[in-house]
């Protein structure tokens, strides 16, 4: 469990981090909480030559309310989000989601920005980001831009972030009526299925993680929704369902429907 050799640079500003990322390209990895990256490095599955540590950059670990939105800095740890009264009162679906991530040690290190950029198809945040229609703020060599959640996840461990871009914050609209439901994988406690539902009057938005190699908005469910949970039966319409030794396609498909229904009912 010893990583291969790498250089370590602690960035003091986002622009410095972006510059370093531009310089080192694919040889570099951004280090935030390190809770996905470091284990992969220890197993030598990931061998970056340069680690750019952004965890010390000021202003990236705050949670604020601005113009009806809650803005969570990319370096906010899951614990920090979990303990935030602002999030609890105005974005309870995120509190529920974060509560399901790992254990105390993981939550104390892992960050929202790191989790999203890593894009593990079984992680929890993506479902909620999708259902909330959150906006991901990123910065790169061409300045800053925003990415809509629905455009962010592109495949397994793949996002629409450019090579030189870093997530700086995630903006959530306030959510009154939302919830996250998760079926835990018994070993890793990642999501076999994770479903986030946000209800707004007669409409509903549904984000699903764990089921496919890309987290997705269950549009078929949203279209079919008419106030009850029957729409859950459309959970995997047009979706290629993943298979592993805990849940094959048949069982995972069933769980997806059960958990979408559950989230719609909650």
């Amino acid at each position: 469990m010893i990583p291969s050799k790498f250089d370590y640079i602690k960035a003091s500003s986002i622009s410095e981090a972006v510059k370093l990322l531009g310089k080192h390209g694919y040889d570099a990895k951004i280090l935030s909480g390190g809770h996905s990256l470091i284990p992969a490095m220890k197993l030598r599955l990931n061998r970056p030559l340069v680690l750019i540590d952004i965890s010390g950059i000021s202003g990236m670990n705050t949670i604020t309310e601005q113009g009806g939105e809650i803005i969570i800095g990319a370096n906010c740890t899951h614990s920090q989000v979990l303990k935030s009264d602002l999030v609890k009162n105005k974005l309870n679906i995120v509190t529920q989601t974060v509560k399901c991530i790992g254990d105390i040690q993981v939550r104390n290190r892992g960050t929202i920005g790191g989790s999203l950029a890593h894009a593990d198809p079984s992680s929890d945040y993506p479902a909620t980001i999708l259902a909330c229609e959150a906006i991901i703020e990123v910065e790169g060599k061409n300045g800053s831009r925003t990415i809509d959640a629905i455009d962010f996840f592109q495949g397994i461990f793949t996002t629409s972030l450019a090579e030189d871009e870093i997530i700086t914050a995630v903006r959530f609209p306030k959510v009154i009526n939302g919830n996250y439901q998760k079926f835990f994988q018994s070993a890793s406690r990642f999501a076999v299925v994770g479903v986030a539902v946000v209800k707004d009057g007669d409409s509903v938005k549904v984000g699903v993680t764990g089921v496919s190699d890309t987290p997705y908005r269950a549009i078929a469910v949203e279209d079919a929704y008419s106030g009850n949970s029957d729409a859950g039966s459309h959970a995997i319409d047009n979706i290629e369902v993943m298979s592993d030794h805990f849940a094959d396609v048949e069982y995972r498909s069933h769980l997806a429907k059960v958990y979408v229904k559950k989230a719609l009912e909650a």
Binding site: S4, S186, F246, H254
Partner: protein
């Protein structure tokens, strides 16, 4: 009960464990110590075409690199138990090389070892070793390994069998009884493979002292003397008196640290080659690939009953994986530690078990907490519960109907089974009655009926187990194929001031020997526990010993210590009689002093010990000193037993099992420290629950491991298990001085079938009769669909 025996004295060793001050092998750093890293095969079965170490040799900090061509330990590591074929042919015993030479037989097999100045440099250099492999087809399932088309693990024998074996009554007689039975219950399943997962990974340091010509091996083993014997006499051919094996603190073993591993021998050999100490500590990934696994039996069983539910016959055929080689005790596990328990707690008149033990392209299988007995118990307790369902009987009633009646073994010879053993003492209906009372069985059944009406899937599972512990009478195990004796050594050294050192050949790797052994020695000598030190884990300190496994430490090791304590008191009495000018027969010993009966004349233990070492005024002809060593060879195994009951609720939507209650009523004979026994039971239960619900080593068809990390190998966590409700009955062992039976494995033996029985019970009204372990949500849900 004395001052300490039977009391929940807090564990003395915990002071250092809780402070992080334990003395584990990896904590030891010797001057000039080097670090080793292995190059391991990424294939389960392959030819090694070429190994190129030239680039690696040039890497920074490399001290030496060795491959299978370098001639270390040509005979490999030995097997310690011989089970011959039924037809008399000798067990097939392949060379188990320290480094693979031209053939890979399991994933993770070591191909080369790189020794460097630091662990980081060793790892980096190991990556530069280039190995050319030609991958070959593999077989990992023990039954498939016996098919004619199966790839061969060892070509020389033409098929994969290491041996086959049977026990019990004549097969045709058993088959005839089954044919005429009123009802026959049948089961086919795999008692799946699990990984031991000790918290401390294996760790070794070998240190050759050029001046003394002596080796010291620091090793995370459960039996240092056995390792020394195997290492010296069988693998390296070095003199036993020139080797010291040390294992101070070991962080859990569960059986996986009994065996003599290739790495231990290889490092010992290397330390002399390079003239420097060398350390290797397994990481968790290596542990999954290279620690001996447990279980892995493919089972086909039939049990016949008369119309009243009495068992009339039992016939089972099993394929039991050995892995790629024969580990130290591997052949004993599915045979003498397994078939001999097929009587269970029942009066079954006819029993036959046939075992075929094939090699597979997997890491070796050996003893894992319970070793053969959990597999026997799982079979008996599942099939009798299945039979009860089929015959529409209550699972408790069918057990009461079949129990061996209570016996104490004091004025009677014990219960002779159909499968070679004689049980010492038992009261099987007693533990079941108590277990049912703890549950509130009748109320539970009412609750269950109500729950079912509300669509809830509630189930209860019973398991009434027996196991064989206190391993073992040497002559008996010798006749069964063991290549070692299984006695134990206890040495009591009384110092001049009356302080006592006790040296035991058993080994504590979490059990609490330092506390429990001091408890009974303190009581027997009538002195404070603080005056007693328990020493273990150093072959230069402890004369000899066979180590700790098979719940033997107290029953066998404790008995050896008692023998020495008795010798101390016997000699002490002679000295006391001399000092008190009284006849020995007029003395009595209590509370740490000898008193002349009926008088106030007395002499303390400390004054007697001082006299023994300052023998100025001393009995004529008596040797000075107060120091005795004893070997104790038990006259029989011990047979703990108990009842475990699980209550589960199954989620009808997901198939997830919620273990709501777990009741363990065990009988482990006399109890020295109830807190420690409860802890052993609880830990064992969680391990057994882990096998039932969560844990499974999965190899794919090519021999790759799907479950090689904690991301995919599910260990039980605190929130998977409810508070375990424990109680016990006490049926003392009639043949050892403390009347103890052993408690280390009971929890893991009784619990697994209780959980699976409960899950099947919860689903029985849906037509579910069996589910393959581990009963994961996916498997349960699929069973509900069919």
């Amino acid at each position: 009960m004395g001052n300490f025996i039977g009391k929940s004295v807090k564990r003395r060793e915990d002071a250092r464990f809780l402070r992080g001050a334990g003395r584990y092998t990896d904590d030891i750093k010797l001057p000039k110590m080097t670090q080793a890293a292995f190059v391991r095969s990424p294939y389960a079965h392959a030819k090694v075409l070429n190994i190129d170490i030239s680039e690696a040799q040039k890497a920074d900090g490399v001290v030496a690199i060795y491959t299978g061509q370098d001639g270390c330990g040509a005979y490999g590591v030995p097997c310690g138990w011989q089970v011959n074929f039924k037809n008399g042919d000798t067990m097939r015993e392949p060379v188990h090389p320290l480094l693979a030479k031209d053939k890979i037989r399991h994933l993770g097999e070591a191909v080369a070892i790189v020794v460097a100045e630091t662990l980081e440099l060793a790892r980096d250099a190991a990556e530069l070793v280039e190995v050319d492999y030609e991958e070959l087809p593999a077989v990992t399932d023990p039954k498939k390994a016996m098919e004619p088309s199966a790839p061969l693990v060892h070509e020389e024998w033409g098929d994969n069998a290491a041996f086959d074996w049977c026990i019990g009554n004549d097969r045709t007689e058993v088959e005839a009884a089954l044919a005429s039975a009123h009802h026959v219950t049948e089961m086919e399943y795999r008692n799946h493979r699990v990984a031991p997962n000790a918290m401390e990974p294996r760790s070794y340091i070998a240190d050759y002292d050029i001046n003394a010509g002596k080796w010291t091996l620091y090793t995370s083993t459960q039996n240092p003397h056995l390792i020394r014997l195997l290492l010296c006499a069988f693998v390296l051919g070095i003199p036993e008196h020139k080797v010291r094996v040390v294992s101070y603190d070991v962080g859990g073993g569960f059986g996986s640290k009994i065996y003599h591993y290739t790495e231990e021998a290889l490092l010992t050999w290397i330390s002399k080659e390079i003239g420097r100490p060398v350390k290797w500590t397994s990481d968790r990934s290596e542990a999954f690939l290279t620690d001996a696994h447990g279980r892995d039996h493919v089972v086909h069983s039939k049990m016949g009953f008369d119309k009243d539910g009495k068992i009339v016959a039992h016939l089972t055929d099993e394929y039991c994986a050995m892995g790629a080689y024969l580990s130290t005790f591997a052949p004993a596990v599915p045979t003498y530690l397994h078939g001999t328990l097929f009587q269970g707690v029942y009066t079954t008149p006819l029993i036959h078990l046939n075992v075929v033990a094939p090699f597979t392209h997997t890491v070796v299988v050996d003893a894992y907490r319970g070793a053969g007995r959990p597999e026997a118990t799982y079979l008996l307790e599942r099939i009798i519960s299945k039979a009860a369902k089929e015959m529409k009987m209550d699972p408790a009633d069918i057990r009461f109907k079949n129990f061996i009646p209570p016996f104490d073994g004091i004025d009677e010879p014990g219960y002779q089974t159909q499968v070679a053993l004689q049980y010492d003492s038992g009261n099987y209906e007693g533990v079941l009655k108590r277990g049912l009372e703890m549950l509130g069985y009748e109320d539970f059944r009412k609750e269950q009926t109500k729950a079912r009406k509300n669509g809830k899937l509630l189930g209860v599972g019973i398991s009434t187990y027996i196991e064989g512990c206190g391993i073992a009478p040497s002559a008996v195990v010798g006749s069964l194929g063991a290549r070692a004796g299984l006695f134990e050594v206890g040495h009591v050294r009384v110092q001049p001031t009356g302080k006592v050192q006790v040296f035991t050949g058993t080994h504590s790797h979490g059990q609490g020997h330092e506390t429990v052994f001091a408890q009974f020695v303190a009581d027997k000598l009538g002195i404070p526990m603080d005056d007693i030190e328990i020493e273990h884990g150093d072959t230069d300190q402890v004369a000899f010993g066979m180590g700790t496994y098979g719940s033997r430490s107290l029953a066998v090791g404790g008995s050896a210590i008692i023998k020495s304590v008795e010798k101390v008191l016997e000699k002490g009495a002679k000295i006391a009689a001399h000092k008190l000018e009284a006849a020995e027969k007029d003395l009595e010993y209590a509370e740490g002093k000898w008193t002349v009966k009926g008088t106030d004349k007395s002499i303390s233990f400390g004054d007697v010990s001082l006299t023994a070492y300052v023998p100025h005024d001393y009995p004529e002809g008596l040797e000075p000193g107060l120091d005795f060593s004893s070997f104790y060879d038990p006259s029989n195994f011990t047979y703990p037993f108990g009842t475990h009951i699980a209550v589960v609720e199954v989620d009808k939507d997901t198939g997830k099992v919620d273990l709501q209650r777990f009741i363990a009523c065990d009988d482990v004979g006399n109890v020295m420290n109830p807190m420690i026994v409860d802890g052993q039971i609880q830990g064992g239960v969680v391990q057994g629950v882990g096998q039932a619900l969560l844990e499974e080593v999965v190899y794919d068809d090519s021999g790759q491991m799907i479950t090689g990390s904690y991301m995919d190998y599910a260990m039980p966590r605190a929130d998977d298990v409810p508070m375990i409700e424990t109680d016990r009955t006490v049926t003392p062992c009639p043949h050892n001085p403390l009347g103890v039976k052993g408690a280390g494995e009971a929890g893991a033996i009784g619990s697994t079938p209780a959980v699976v029985n409960a899950v099947v019970d919860a689903l029985s009204h849906l037509g579910v009769t069996d589910i393959q372990m581990p009963v994961t949500p996916q498997r349960v849900w699929k069973a509900m669909q069919n």
